[in-house]
Assembly symmetry: C2
């Protein structure tokens, strides 16, 4: 079955919108979505593409844009700006990779983002780790220990290398049949590509 | 009447999409749009916000994204990538400012973009200047001489300072009731804000 690869990193701000709205949208449209956490920080540093650091006007706009669009999608009211950037980005994404292997990755990711954007508790540290992992139905101490293993670190690197090979340079991104779509605002373009092999947009 | 300020710069790639689709959309929806050319390069340099320079992966994506979306909007097939960045950015935007004062600015802007994206002739130099100005119904030599005056240079600076004061940091941007919307893909959000005071988006 044709599918959409959803490349994201816990720590990406706009990924909040996708992570919150994607499950309902996928169910409504019968979409097969593969959630693929990767180290977007590594990619962006490597490509000299740092979107918000030392850019206060653009960063302020980003939060306002997310706030307006979250309301537009009917998502719960977020307390913005959320703590950013994440201090424990690496562990959060190692947990996501581990969770995708063990079947609880989507539940963990969504719980971690809810705690981050709605309660102000950043992922990758306490109390987010314990609360999000318990919400996903796993033992926090065991999961963190496994996530910190060399094996999971390597798995995150492999996914990150693959994302770069595909042309992914930011998060969230969607890849369909080799076409890259970047940004929560391109999710509909990706779905259109999946169904029709082209982007369809409203015309005047 | 409530209106949308459309801030753009000739030289902005994504502005192509807006410039091509905006007149039909404004007519269909009865929108009052004020076209405001500004020196986005000055703003971006000032804010250390350089989106595509030395970022080949992101730049390649940008062209592909514009190509897909242009097709999605039903626009004429563009020959991409178009020559970028513009060598004569300043003159192109001085001409746009002059034209807005004299009533031919929208026609000039659209003709200059068509020549740039469809025929590969960059704005601000020949043959774009002569062809776009003639298409807008003005004498090219006279218009270029006026555009190069200190008065028009100052007018462009004043508009650019105002854009920055409003929180505009990139092009295209739309400002409605003090709310800034950045990107061709936020035009519908701006229209929604104009009509409803909020952004409305499709929900699953």
């Amino acid at each position: 079955m044709a599918h959409i690869d959803f490349w994201y990193a816990i720590g990406s701000t706009y990924s909040y919108l996708t992570i919150m709205r994607l499950p309902d949208l996928a169910a409504a449209e019968g979409l097969d979505i593969i959630w693929r956490p990767f180290d977007v920080r590594h990619v962006m540093t490597h490509q000299n593409n740092i979107p918000f650091k030392d850019k206060p006007v653009k960063a302020a706009y980003m939060w306002r844009d997310i706030e307006r669009r979250a309301e537009g999608y009917g998502l719960p009211h977020a307390h913005l700006p959320a703590p950013y950037p994440l201090k424990h980005f690496a562990l959060a994404n190692r947990l996501a990779v581990l969770g995708m292997r063990q079947g609880w990755g989507v539940a963990y990711t969504r719980a971690a983002y809810r705690l981050w954007f709605l309660a102000g508790h950043p992922p990758g540290e306490e109390p987010n780790n314990t609360e999000a992992l318990e919400a996903a139905g796993v033992d926090p101490l065991k999961a963190v220990a496994e996530a910190e293993s060399a094996k999971i670190g390597k798995a995150l690197q492999v996914e990150t290398d693959l994302a770069m090979d595909l042309g992914v340079f930011g998060a969230p991104s969607f890849v369909v049949d080799g076409e890259v779509f970047w940004g929560d605002d391109r999710l509909e373009d990706a779905i259109s590509w999946l169904h029709n092999g082209r982007v369809t947009l409203p015309q005047a």
